[in-house]
Protein backbone atom coordinates (compact mmCIF):
# COMPACT_ATOMS: atom_id res chain seq x y z
CA UNK A 1 0.00 0.00 0.00
CA UNK A 2 3.05 2.29 0.26
CA UNK A 3 2.98 3.44 -3.39
CA UNK A 4 -0.77 4.06 -3.16
CA UNK A 5 -0.20 6.23 -0.09
CA UNK A 6 2.66 7.98 -1.93
CA UNK A 7 0.22 9.05 -4.68
CA UNK A 8 -2.23 10.40 -2.09
CA UNK A 9 0.49 12.34 -0.24
CA UNK A 10 1.86 13.67 -3.53
CA UNK A 11 -1.61 14.97 -4.48
CA UNK A 12 -1.98 16.55 -1.02
CA UNK A 13 1.50 18.14 -1.24
CA UNK A 14 0.71 19.68 -4.64
CA UNK A 15 -2.67 20.95 -3.44
CA UNK A 16 -1.11 22.35 -0.27
CA UNK A 17 1.31 24.34 -2.41
CA UNK A 18 -1.11 25.83 -4.90
CA UNK A 19 -4.57 25.39 -3.26
CA UNK A 20 -6.15 25.57 -6.72
CA UNK A 21 -8.55 22.63 -6.50
CA UNK A 22 -9.74 23.11 -2.95
CA UNK A 23 -10.38 26.85 -3.28
CA UNK A 24 -12.35 26.52 -6.51
CA UNK A 25 -14.33 23.51 -5.23
CA UNK A 26 -15.22 25.27 -2.02
CA UNK A 27 -16.16 28.59 -3.60
CA UNK A 28 -18.27 26.95 -6.29
CA UNK A 29 -20.03 24.62 -3.83
CA UNK A 30 -20.78 27.45 -1.41
CA UNK A 31 -22.02 29.66 -4.22
CA UNK A 32 -24.52 27.01 -5.32
CA UNK A 33 -25.79 26.53 -1.73
CA UNK A 34 -26.13 30.30 -1.14
CA UNK A 35 -27.82 31.05 -4.49
CA UNK A 36 -30.27 28.15 -4.16
CA UNK A 37 -31.05 29.06 -0.54
CA UNK A 38 -32.08 32.57 -1.57
CA UNK A 39 -33.83 31.41 -4.74
CA UNK A 40 -36.00 28.94 -2.81
CA UNK A 41 -36.83 31.28 0.05
CA UNK A 42 -40.46 30.81 1.03
CA UNK A 43 -40.63 27.39 -0.63
CA UNK A 44 -40.71 24.05 1.12
CA UNK A 45 -36.99 23.96 1.92
CA UNK A 46 -36.97 20.40 3.27
CA UNK A 47 -38.11 18.96 -0.04
CA UNK A 48 -35.68 21.06 -2.11
CA UNK A 49 -32.64 20.92 0.16
CA UNK A 50 -31.37 17.39 -0.72
CA UNK A 51 -31.24 18.24 -4.44
CA UNK A 52 -29.54 21.55 -3.69
CA UNK A 53 -26.89 19.83 -1.57
CA UNK A 54 -26.04 17.21 -4.18
CA UNK A 55 -25.95 19.71 -7.04
CA UNK A 56 -23.38 21.67 -4.99
CA UNK A 57 -21.43 18.47 -4.26
CA UNK A 58 -21.51 17.31 -7.89
CA UNK A 59 -20.32 20.60 -9.37
CA UNK A 60 -17.59 20.98 -6.75
CA UNK A 61 -16.57 17.34 -7.33
CA UNK A 62 -16.25 17.81 -11.10
CA UNK A 63 -14.01 20.84 -10.53
CA UNK A 64 -11.82 18.76 -8.22
CA UNK A 65 -11.59 15.90 -10.73
CA UNK A 66 -10.67 18.35 -13.49
CA UNK A 67 -7.87 19.78 -11.38
CA UNK A 68 -6.63 16.29 -10.56
CA UNK A 69 -6.65 15.47 -14.28
CA UNK A 70 -4.67 18.61 -15.15
CA UNK A 71 -2.08 17.76 -12.52
CA UNK A 72 -1.32 14.49 -14.32
CA UNK A 73 -1.52 15.90 -17.87
CA UNK A 74 0.93 18.72 -17.16
CA UNK A 75 4.41 17.64 -18.26
CA UNK A 76 3.02 14.18 -19.14
CA UNK A 77 3.26 13.20 -15.47
CA UNK A 78 0.75 10.40 -16.01
CA UNK A 79 3.35 8.66 -18.18
CA UNK A 80 5.80 8.94 -15.29
CA UNK A 81 3.31 7.11 -13.08
CA UNK A 82 2.68 4.49 -15.76
CA UNK A 83 6.41 3.81 -16.07
CA UNK A 84 6.66 2.85 -12.40
CA UNK A 85 6.33 -0.77 -11.28
CA UNK A 86 3.03 0.07 -9.60
CA UNK A 87 0.13 -2.01 -10.96
CA UNK A 88 -2.45 -0.04 -12.94
CA UNK A 89 -5.10 -1.06 -10.40
CA UNK A 90 -3.06 0.34 -7.50
CA UNK A 91 -2.47 3.52 -9.48
CA UNK A 92 -6.24 3.83 -9.86
CA UNK A 93 -6.77 3.28 -6.12
CA UNK A 94 -4.18 5.95 -5.32
CA UNK A 95 -5.86 8.50 -7.57
CA UNK A 96 -9.32 7.61 -6.19
CA UNK A 97 -8.07 8.01 -2.61
CA UNK A 98 -6.50 11.39 -3.42
CA UNK A 99 -9.62 12.65 -5.16
CA UNK A 100 -11.80 11.32 -2.34
CA UNK A 101 -9.81 13.21 0.31
CA UNK A 102 -10.16 16.59 -1.47
CA UNK A 103 -13.79 16.13 -2.40
CA UNK A 104 -14.80 15.04 1.11
CA UNK A 105 -12.95 17.93 2.77
CA UNK A 106 -14.68 20.43 0.48
CA UNK A 107 -18.07 18.77 1.08
CA UNK A 108 -17.64 18.71 4.85
CA UNK A 109 -17.00 22.47 4.73
CA UNK A 110 -20.02 23.08 2.46
CA UNK A 111 -22.34 20.98 4.69
CA UNK A 112 -22.50 23.31 7.77
CA UNK A 113 -23.34 26.27 5.48
CA UNK A 114 -26.09 24.17 3.93
CA UNK A 115 -27.47 23.36 7.42
CA UNK A 116 -27.41 27.01 8.55
CA UNK A 117 -28.83 28.52 5.37
CA UNK A 118 -31.69 26.00 5.31
CA UNK A 119 -32.58 26.39 8.99
CA UNK A 120 -31.75 22.77 9.74
CA UNK A 121 -30.49 21.57 13.10
CA UNK A 122 -27.16 19.94 13.96
CA UNK A 123 -28.54 16.64 15.24
CA UNK A 124 -28.50 12.91 14.41
CA UNK A 125 -29.89 13.67 10.92
CA UNK A 126 -26.66 15.49 10.17
CA UNK A 127 -24.68 12.36 10.99
CA UNK A 128 -26.86 10.43 8.55
CA UNK A 129 -26.19 13.06 5.90
CA UNK A 130 -22.43 12.80 6.56
CA UNK A 131 -22.68 9.02 6.07
CA UNK A 132 -24.62 9.42 2.80
CA UNK A 133 -22.08 12.04 1.71
CA UNK A 134 -19.23 9.55 2.29
CA UNK A 135 -20.93 6.76 0.34
CA UNK A 136 -22.22 8.97 -2.48
CA UNK A 137 -18.86 10.69 -2.89
CA UNK A 138 -17.08 7.34 -3.07
CA UNK A 139 -19.27 6.30 -6.01
CA UNK A 140 -18.92 9.72 -7.65
CA UNK A 141 -15.12 9.75 -7.36
CA UNK A 142 -14.72 6.05 -8.24
CA UNK A 143 -16.14 6.51 -11.73
CA UNK A 144 -15.01 10.15 -12.00
CA UNK A 145 -11.34 9.18 -11.64
CA UNK A 146 -11.67 6.68 -14.48
CA UNK A 147 -13.54 9.14 -16.67
CA UNK A 148 -11.01 11.91 -15.99
CA UNK A 149 -8.24 9.64 -17.27
CA UNK A 150 -10.30 8.64 -20.31
CA UNK A 151 -10.83 12.31 -21.12
CA UNK A 152 -7.09 12.93 -20.58
CA UNK A 153 -6.46 10.87 -23.76
CA UNK A 154 -8.72 13.10 -25.85
CA UNK A 155 -8.39 16.58 -27.26
CA UNK A 156 -11.49 17.88 -25.45
CA UNK A 157 -10.23 16.93 -21.97
CA UNK A 158 -11.91 19.30 -19.45
CA UNK A 159 -15.05 19.62 -21.61
CA UNK A 160 -15.48 15.89 -22.00
CA UNK A 161 -15.25 15.07 -18.29
CA UNK A 162 -18.55 16.67 -17.17
CA UNK A 163 -20.25 15.40 -20.34
CA UNK A 164 -19.34 11.82 -19.35
CA UNK A 165 -19.45 12.26 -15.59
CA UNK A 166 -22.97 13.59 -15.11
CA UNK A 167 -24.83 10.77 -16.95
CA UNK A 168 -22.56 8.08 -15.51
CA UNK A 169 -23.05 9.26 -11.93
CA UNK A 170 -26.76 9.91 -12.34
CA UNK A 171 -27.76 6.73 -10.43
CA UNK A 172 -25.36 7.66 -7.61
CA UNK A 173 -26.58 11.26 -7.35
CA UNK A 174 -30.24 10.24 -7.61
CA UNK A 175 -29.87 7.61 -4.86
CA UNK A 176 -27.93 10.05 -2.68
CA UNK A 177 -30.65 12.70 -3.10
CA UNK A 178 -33.35 10.14 -2.26
CA UNK A 179 -31.45 8.90 0.80
CA UNK A 180 -30.82 12.47 2.00
CA UNK A 181 -34.49 13.38 1.51
CA UNK A 182 -35.61 10.30 3.45
CA UNK A 183 -33.34 10.93 6.45
CA UNK A 184 -34.51 14.55 6.53
CA UNK A 185 -38.18 13.50 6.46
CA UNK A 186 -40.16 12.27 9.44
CA UNK A 187 -40.32 8.71 8.10
CA UNK A 188 -36.90 7.44 7.07
CA UNK A 189 -37.85 3.76 6.98
CA UNK A 190 -37.23 3.38 3.24
CA UNK A 191 -33.66 4.70 3.37
CA UNK A 192 -32.07 1.26 3.08
CA UNK A 193 -33.03 0.98 -0.62
CA UNK A 194 -31.21 4.10 -1.91
CA UNK A 195 -28.29 3.30 0.42
CA UNK A 196 -28.09 -0.20 -1.09
CA UNK A 197 -28.12 1.28 -4.60
CA UNK A 198 -25.32 3.67 -3.58
CA UNK A 199 -23.29 0.82 -2.12
CA UNK A 200 -23.80 -1.39 -5.19
CA UNK A 201 -22.86 1.34 -7.66
CA UNK A 202 -19.79 2.34 -5.66
CA UNK A 203 -18.62 -1.28 -5.45
CA UNK A 204 -19.27 -1.96 -9.14
CA UNK A 205 -17.54 1.26 -10.25
CA UNK A 206 -14.47 0.57 -8.10
CA UNK A 207 -14.20 -3.12 -9.07
CA UNK A 208 -14.77 -2.50 -12.79
CA UNK A 209 -12.37 0.45 -12.92
CA UNK A 210 -9.69 -1.46 -10.98
CA UNK A 211 -9.66 -4.24 -13.56
CA UNK A 212 -10.07 -2.22 -16.76
CA UNK A 213 -7.82 0.66 -15.76
CA UNK A 214 -4.78 -0.67 -17.62
CA UNK A 215 -6.74 -0.74 -20.88
CA UNK A 216 -7.85 2.86 -20.28
CA UNK A 217 -4.47 4.40 -19.54
CA UNK A 218 -2.29 2.51 -22.02
CA UNK A 219 -2.23 3.87 -25.54
Amino acid sequence: MKPVAAIVFKDIAIEYKNREAFTSMLLFGLLVVVVFSFAFEGSDRRSLAPGMLWVAYAFAGILGLNRSLNMEIDNDCLQGLLLSPLSRGDLYLGKVAGNLVFTLIAELVILPFFVILNNLTFDIVLLWIVGITLLGTLGFVAIGTTLSLISAQTRMKEVLLPVLQIPMTFPVILSAVQATALVMSEDSSGVSFPLSVLGIFSTVYIAASYFVFEYIVEE
Partner: protein, 238 residues
Protein backbone atom coordinates in the same frame (compact mmCIF):
# COMPACT_ATOMS: atom_id res chain seq x y z
CA UNK B 1 22.28 -15.33 -16.24
CA UNK B 2 25.08 -13.85 -18.32
CA UNK B 3 23.53 -14.67 -21.70
CA UNK B 4 20.11 -13.27 -20.93
CA UNK B 5 19.00 -10.63 -23.38
CA UNK B 6 18.33 -7.18 -21.97
CA UNK B 7 15.61 -6.55 -24.53
CA UNK B 8 14.05 -8.99 -26.94
CA UNK B 9 11.28 -8.00 -29.30
CA UNK B 10 9.61 -10.54 -31.57
CA UNK B 11 7.70 -9.26 -34.58
CA UNK B 12 6.43 -6.16 -32.79
CA UNK B 13 3.76 -4.29 -34.73
CA UNK B 14 1.78 -1.22 -33.77
CA UNK B 15 -1.07 0.19 -35.81
CA UNK B 16 -2.86 3.52 -35.30
CA UNK B 17 -6.14 3.47 -37.20
CA UNK B 18 -5.18 2.45 -40.72
CA UNK B 19 -1.50 3.32 -40.53
CA UNK B 20 1.31 1.18 -39.22
CA UNK B 21 3.76 2.94 -36.90
CA UNK B 22 5.93 -0.13 -36.30
CA UNK B 23 6.08 -3.19 -38.56
CA UNK B 24 7.55 -6.52 -37.68
CA UNK B 25 10.40 -5.24 -35.52
CA UNK B 26 12.51 -8.06 -34.14
CA UNK B 27 15.47 -6.95 -32.05
CA UNK B 28 17.74 -8.77 -29.66
CA UNK B 29 19.75 -6.45 -27.43
CA UNK B 30 22.39 -8.06 -25.23
CA UNK B 31 23.24 -6.80 -21.75
CA UNK B 32 25.76 -3.99 -21.79
CA UNK B 33 25.01 -2.97 -25.38
CA UNK B 34 24.52 0.69 -26.27
CA UNK B 35 22.12 0.80 -29.19
CA UNK B 36 21.45 3.98 -31.15
CA UNK B 37 18.08 3.88 -32.89
CA UNK B 38 17.91 6.28 -35.83
CA UNK B 39 15.01 7.23 -38.04
CA UNK B 40 13.34 10.20 -39.62
CA UNK B 41 10.17 11.74 -38.18
CA UNK B 42 7.39 9.15 -38.12
CA UNK B 43 9.79 6.24 -38.59
CA UNK B 44 8.43 4.57 -35.43
CA UNK B 45 11.30 5.17 -32.99
CA UNK B 46 9.21 6.69 -30.20
CA UNK B 47 6.40 4.17 -30.70
CA UNK B 48 8.85 1.27 -30.41
CA UNK B 49 10.39 2.76 -27.26
CA UNK B 50 6.95 3.30 -25.73
CA UNK B 51 6.05 -0.32 -26.44
CA UNK B 52 9.35 -1.38 -24.86
CA UNK B 53 8.62 0.75 -21.77
CA UNK B 54 5.12 -0.69 -21.35
CA UNK B 55 3.43 2.62 -22.12
CA UNK B 56 1.86 1.31 -25.29
CA UNK B 57 0.29 -2.06 -26.05
CA UNK B 58 1.58 -3.57 -29.31
CA UNK B 59 -0.94 -4.59 -31.93
CA UNK B 60 1.05 -7.79 -32.43
CA UNK B 61 4.24 -9.38 -31.17
CA UNK B 62 6.04 -9.97 -27.89
CA UNK B 63 8.62 -7.95 -26.03
CA UNK B 64 10.62 -8.90 -22.96
CA UNK B 65 12.93 -6.89 -20.72
CA UNK B 66 15.58 -9.11 -19.10
CA UNK B 67 13.33 -12.10 -19.67
CA UNK B 68 10.20 -10.45 -18.22
CA UNK B 69 7.34 -10.13 -20.67
CA UNK B 70 6.25 -6.49 -20.87
CA UNK B 71 2.60 -7.61 -21.01
CA UNK B 72 2.31 -10.58 -18.67
CA UNK B 73 5.04 -9.56 -16.18
CA UNK B 74 4.69 -5.85 -16.66
CA UNK B 75 5.59 -4.72 -13.14
CA UNK B 76 8.80 -6.75 -13.00
CA UNK B 77 9.76 -5.54 -16.48
CA UNK B 78 9.04 -1.87 -15.68
CA UNK B 79 11.08 -2.06 -12.46
CA UNK B 80 14.15 -2.64 -14.67
CA UNK B 81 13.51 0.25 -17.04
CA UNK B 82 14.63 3.85 -16.81
CA UNK B 83 12.87 5.98 -19.40
CA UNK B 84 13.75 9.51 -20.41
CA UNK B 85 12.07 11.46 -23.17
CA UNK B 86 11.88 15.12 -24.09
CA UNK B 87 9.04 15.34 -21.54
CA UNK B 88 10.44 15.09 -18.03
CA UNK B 89 7.38 13.52 -16.28
CA UNK B 90 8.09 15.55 -13.12
CA UNK B 91 5.54 17.62 -11.19
CA UNK B 92 6.21 21.31 -11.68
CA UNK B 93 4.62 22.30 -8.35
CA UNK B 94 7.03 20.10 -6.42
CA UNK B 95 10.76 20.63 -5.90
CA UNK B 96 13.33 18.22 -7.40
CA UNK B 97 13.85 16.55 -4.02
CA UNK B 98 10.07 16.13 -3.49
CA UNK B 99 9.69 14.69 -6.98
CA UNK B 100 12.52 12.23 -6.47
CA UNK B 101 11.20 11.17 -3.04
CA UNK B 102 7.81 10.49 -4.61
CA UNK B 103 9.28 8.36 -7.38
CA UNK B 104 11.50 6.51 -4.87
CA UNK B 105 8.35 5.48 -3.02
CA UNK B 106 6.73 4.29 -6.25
CA UNK B 107 9.80 2.21 -7.11
CA UNK B 108 10.33 1.04 -3.53
CA UNK B 109 13.92 2.30 -3.34
CA UNK B 110 15.53 4.19 -0.40
CA UNK B 111 14.50 7.85 -0.38
CA UNK B 112 17.09 9.31 2.01
CA UNK B 113 17.88 12.97 1.40
CA UNK B 114 21.59 12.16 1.29
CA UNK B 115 21.16 9.74 -1.61
CA UNK B 116 18.83 12.05 -3.51
CA UNK B 117 21.03 15.10 -3.01
CA UNK B 118 23.94 13.02 -4.30
CA UNK B 119 21.93 12.18 -7.41
CA UNK B 120 20.92 15.82 -7.87
CA UNK B 121 24.51 16.98 -7.47
CA UNK B 122 25.44 14.71 -10.40
CA UNK B 123 23.10 16.77 -12.57
CA UNK B 124 24.27 20.02 -10.94
CA UNK B 125 21.00 20.70 -9.17
CA UNK B 126 21.87 20.12 -5.52
CA UNK B 127 21.85 23.88 -4.85
CA UNK B 128 18.31 24.19 -6.21
CA UNK B 129 16.95 20.95 -4.75
CA UNK B 130 14.18 22.71 -2.81
CA UNK B 131 12.93 25.18 -5.40
CA UNK B 132 9.76 24.34 -7.32
CA UNK B 133 10.51 22.79 -10.72
CA UNK B 134 8.11 25.38 -12.21
CA UNK B 135 10.79 28.03 -11.69
CA UNK B 136 13.35 26.08 -13.77
CA UNK B 137 14.26 26.55 -17.41
CA UNK B 138 13.50 23.73 -19.88
CA UNK B 139 17.07 22.45 -19.66
CA UNK B 140 17.08 22.40 -15.84
CA UNK B 141 13.75 20.55 -15.84
CA UNK B 142 15.30 18.00 -18.17
CA UNK B 143 18.12 17.50 -15.65
CA UNK B 144 15.50 16.66 -13.00
CA UNK B 145 14.07 14.24 -15.56
CA UNK B 146 17.49 12.58 -15.92
CA UNK B 147 17.71 12.12 -12.14
CA UNK B 148 14.16 10.71 -12.11
CA UNK B 149 14.91 8.23 -14.87
CA UNK B 150 18.01 6.89 -13.13
CA UNK B 151 17.06 7.05 -9.44
CA UNK B 152 16.08 3.37 -9.18
CA UNK B 153 19.32 2.21 -10.83
CA UNK B 154 17.60 0.66 -13.87
CA UNK B 155 19.40 -2.03 -15.82
CA UNK B 156 17.81 -1.03 -19.15
CA UNK B 157 17.82 2.68 -19.99
CA UNK B 158 15.50 3.85 -22.78
CA UNK B 159 16.09 7.37 -24.04
CA UNK B 160 13.81 9.09 -26.52
CA UNK B 161 15.50 12.20 -27.96
CA UNK B 162 17.00 12.94 -24.53
CA UNK B 163 19.16 15.84 -25.73
CA UNK B 164 16.17 18.02 -26.61
CA UNK B 165 16.38 21.21 -24.57
CA UNK B 166 19.68 20.32 -22.93
CA UNK B 167 22.54 22.82 -23.00
CA UNK B 168 26.06 21.61 -23.82
CA UNK B 169 26.99 21.13 -20.17
CA UNK B 170 23.87 19.13 -19.35
CA UNK B 171 24.35 17.04 -22.52
CA UNK B 172 27.90 16.31 -21.38
CA UNK B 173 26.60 15.32 -17.92
CA UNK B 174 24.07 12.98 -19.53
CA UNK B 175 26.79 11.48 -21.74
CA UNK B 176 29.00 10.87 -18.70
CA UNK B 177 26.16 9.20 -16.81
CA UNK B 178 25.37 6.99 -19.82
CA UNK B 179 29.03 6.03 -20.23
CA UNK B 180 29.17 5.05 -16.55
CA UNK B 181 25.95 3.09 -16.92
CA UNK B 182 27.31 1.12 -19.88
CA UNK B 183 30.64 0.54 -18.09
CA UNK B 184 28.72 -0.98 -15.18
CA UNK B 185 26.93 -3.42 -17.50
CA UNK B 186 23.68 -1.57 -18.07
CA UNK B 187 21.96 -1.53 -21.45
CA UNK B 188 21.11 1.67 -23.28
CA UNK B 189 18.69 2.15 -26.17
CA UNK B 190 18.72 5.72 -27.47
CA UNK B 191 16.69 7.33 -30.23
CA UNK B 192 17.95 10.46 -31.92
CA UNK B 193 18.09 12.31 -35.21
CA UNK B 194 21.64 13.40 -34.56
CA UNK B 195 24.05 10.77 -35.92
CA UNK B 196 27.10 12.21 -34.16
CA UNK B 197 25.35 12.27 -30.79
CA UNK B 198 23.93 8.80 -31.42
CA UNK B 199 27.16 7.17 -32.54
CA UNK B 200 29.29 8.85 -29.86
CA UNK B 201 29.21 5.88 -27.50
CA UNK B 202 26.93 3.41 -29.29
CA UNK B 203 28.16 -0.09 -29.96
CA UNK B 204 25.33 -0.86 -32.34
CA UNK B 205 23.14 1.17 -34.67
CA UNK B 206 19.63 0.38 -35.85
CA UNK B 207 17.79 2.42 -38.46
CA UNK B 208 14.01 2.39 -38.71
CA UNK B 209 12.25 3.51 -41.85
CA UNK B 210 8.47 3.63 -42.03
CA UNK B 211 8.25 1.30 -39.04
CA UNK B 212 10.65 -1.36 -40.34
CA UNK B 213 14.25 -2.13 -39.40
CA UNK B 214 16.28 -1.32 -42.50
CA UNK B 215 19.75 -1.39 -40.95
CA UNK B 216 21.14 -3.24 -37.96
CA UNK B 217 24.88 -3.37 -37.48
CA UNK B 218 27.94 -2.14 -35.66
CA UNK B 219 27.95 1.55 -34.82
CA UNK B 220 31.64 1.66 -35.72
CA UNK B 221 31.02 0.37 -39.22
CA UNK B 222 31.14 3.03 -41.92
CA UNK B 223 28.07 1.45 -43.50
CA UNK B 224 25.88 3.00 -40.81
CA UNK B 225 26.62 6.49 -42.14
CA UNK B 226 25.76 5.45 -45.68
CA UNK B 227 22.52 3.88 -44.47
CA UNK B 228 21.76 7.00 -42.43
CA UNK B 229 22.15 9.23 -45.48
CA UNK B 230 20.14 6.84 -47.60
CA UNK B 231 17.16 6.43 -45.28
CA UNK B 232 17.10 9.59 -43.22
CA UNK B 233 18.48 12.26 -45.49
CA UNK B 234 16.75 10.70 -48.47
CA UNK B 235 20.01 10.39 -50.37
CA UNK B 236 18.42 7.79 -52.56
CA UNK B 237 15.07 7.93 -54.32
CA UNK B 238 12.51 6.06 -52.22
Amino acid sequence: MPDMLALESKEIEKKFGYSWAVRNVTLKVRRGEFVALFGSNGAGKTTFLKVAAGLMRPTKGKLAIEGYDIGAQAEEARRRIGFLSHNTFVYRDLSPIENLKFFCRLYGVPDSEERLLGLLSRVDLAQRAREPVRAFSRGLQQRVGIARALLHDPSVILLDEPYTGLDAKAAQTLNTMLDEAVDSGKTVLLTTHDIEQGLRAATRAVILDRGRVVYDGSAKDGAVREAYVRYIHGGEAR
